[in-house]
Symmetry: C2
Subunit: 440 residues, 2 copies
Amino acid sequence: MPGALELLPTEQIELQRMLDLIREEFERFGFLPISTSAMELSEVLLTKSGGETERQVYLVQSTGARTQGKEPDLALRFDLTVPLARYVAEHEGELAFPFRRYQIQPVWRGETPQRGRFREFIQCDIDVIDRGKLSIRHDAEMPAVIAGIFTRLNIGDFTIRINNRKLLRGLLIDLGVEDPDRQTDVLRELDKLGRDGEQSVETALLDKGLSPEAASRLLQLAGRGSVRGDDAITLLESLPDANSLLVEGKTELLTVFALLAAQGVDPRKVALDVSIARGLDYYTGTVYETTLDSHPELGSICSGGRYDDLASLYTSSKLPGVGISIGLTRLFWQLREVGLVGQGSTTVRVLLTLLDDPGLTVTLGIARDLRAAGINTEVTLEAGKLSRQLRYADRAGIPIVVIAGEEERERGTVQVRHLPTQHQQEVSVTDLVTTIQELD
Amino acid sequence: MPGALELLPTEQIELQRMLDLIREEFERFGFLPISTSAMELSEVLLTKSGGETERQVYLVQSTGARTQGKEPDLALRFDLTVPLARYVAEHEGELAFPFRRYQIQPVWRGETPQRGRFREFIQCDIDVIDRGKLSIRHDAEMPAVIAGIFTRLNIGDFTIRINNRKLLRGLLIDLGVEDPDRQTDVLRELDKLGRDGEQSVETALLDKGLSPEAASRLLQLAGRGSVRGDDAITLLESLPDANSLLVEGKTELLTVFALLAAQGVDPRKVALDVSIARGLDYYTGTVYETTLDSHPELGSICSGGRYDDLASLYTSSKLPGVGISIGLTRLFWQLREVGLVGQGSTTVRVLLTLLDDPGLTVTLGIARDLRAAGINTEVTLEAGKLSRQLRYADRAGIPIVVIAGEEERERGTVQVRHLPTQHQQEVSVTDLVTTIQELD
């Protein structure tokens, strides 16, 4: 299918391992799973989208309904936030708050298919939602989860860049930009700093009516990029207490950095970055982006932030939240492009060969024992040449080949060949499970 | 969403455990994962559907394409067989045959929403596909996988009922029904035996032109229902070698039962059942159905069979296969209805309480240690009453509560309360991980 990342099994296993690891880490931090229907009401999705996304919503209609000339009233979700909002509103009375949910599911966008752009992609999201007010302390959980995941994924050093929209808006007010819409415009320009460079952004800021001094001060702050450890604290403390938004933003960031330290998050992996605005107006406080230190060109591989109200469309309860999202399909594709994943992998641990038909019964008995011990085992069911079966195991990446030829059967033994080392040993059938477990 | 099974997190965790167990068992038997796009070309799905399904195909179209007045050229898959066929044809040169794949993904059908009928449901499929010819021995792998899964799911005794369409067709020829279309009609009637009873099916068979003697002989065979162990072999051997189809069917079934024994599949869990035809013409040899002994009313919870050619629409290669499918969403719903699942479960093992704000740093440090040891831990981030936090843990099903109050912090200890037993002990912070691991 164009626009879908369909993998060979060995690649799928690598992707699946990443998904499993992400899920495991989400659960380690006490997040609970939900899974929602692929379809939402189209009117909701069309209201919640906008801009480019609005033309990319996939409408859904059964052939029966279409024949009757009806309009499509369903559509495929384009993110996991709209479904979360509906879900929380629907189940508000049954959930415990703060509600900590993770969700790992595909979403769909009618993109024009091109390299690295997908029409169907898996998102891995966590959010903490509370009613009325959500403690800022949860904002410090997100980078801890991100750090846990990307450390274990083992794809190189990374930096979680943290900022706060209140701080940015407070700074803008201090620089004379009081109108929220103008602030949004300015933040949108600032977001381009990494991509377009200082010169270009400065011109844009002056166009938006900033004074040269204001533009220069903003760019000086934002231009510092990732500021780590004590330097981040010093920078934050150096900012003037010019207005309540600025004070709030500072205080929140100082809390987040203090709690990151308390959680033992490696200080080299987190940074303050005043240039990060996250274009979306949706975010109102802390914002996050994550980049691979050796591959900044991949852009942010995990982003998110704090928002004021999740589900105003569905419920009168105010539901503030904070969350992050990993676009795993795109990330996997990118990592493969730069050679950080993609060697292929298999879930099969043992190939049980068959050299002659009379050996079938013994072979199936051995297979049963291996599987009962939790060892993933494939059995060759039609007898054939050993060399061919060894070549198959080698190509498929199966590390262990077990051979029960006529002589071995007479002796009650098998040959165990470990392909990575080419070491072969003859062991009693009764010792086979232990032998294989020790080859781990 | 109507027609979707959206669960609360505790239920979702139960469903997820079933999915994980099924995946684990598929992998144990050497099956490899694939994952395909939710969408296929609508023309293919409409060709491959038919009957009721044809009106239930969900067509998909982006808002942009709809605005341009285009016809929808994409649709959501309604099973995992059509996507498998396309996938195998597309990757034929890159796959090793026999290709053993598993696939666990949702499918969609535009059903009228009603109790126990879903518009979106998860299917768990395995298939073995070969080129040209697929050894009958693979037909004996399917019941071994089914037995492994349902034994571990622990939802009561079950019977895997096995038959063979060649045997049935051979029997019909022997009874004077030579025309394949009439045979299909007769098999369709026979399939209703469990539902409609012998009287009704006999009338239908006579209507289809069977002689009273033929109808009676067929019903006598089919009426025996599940025939186990040596009785199954005796029954098979008693059938006349009247024609080549009958002989083939007999031989195949005898092979399957012999290899099931060789694999150590519990003989009480498998049975020959000559009444099973699986309505679909798609199947050409072995067919399977699985029923729960205490809940026959749930119908077959895992079905499948052997087919001659998977992907004739896509490739000139002949690709015979054998496979089974579990409709997990429906099964989960059914099991919940009869009380076999649905108690709810959590992935969180420890709730780390917070009684006073000065304890936050120590608490976050403990959380880090627990998580580093692989223990799923939720932290209360705003200080509150212990009784409320204990009540929360109890309701959420979290088994262990850890308390680091002011006095404990001074002593370098924590209280560990095991909710199921109400046993509480004070241990040194350095012993906490071990203490919790021993509470398993």
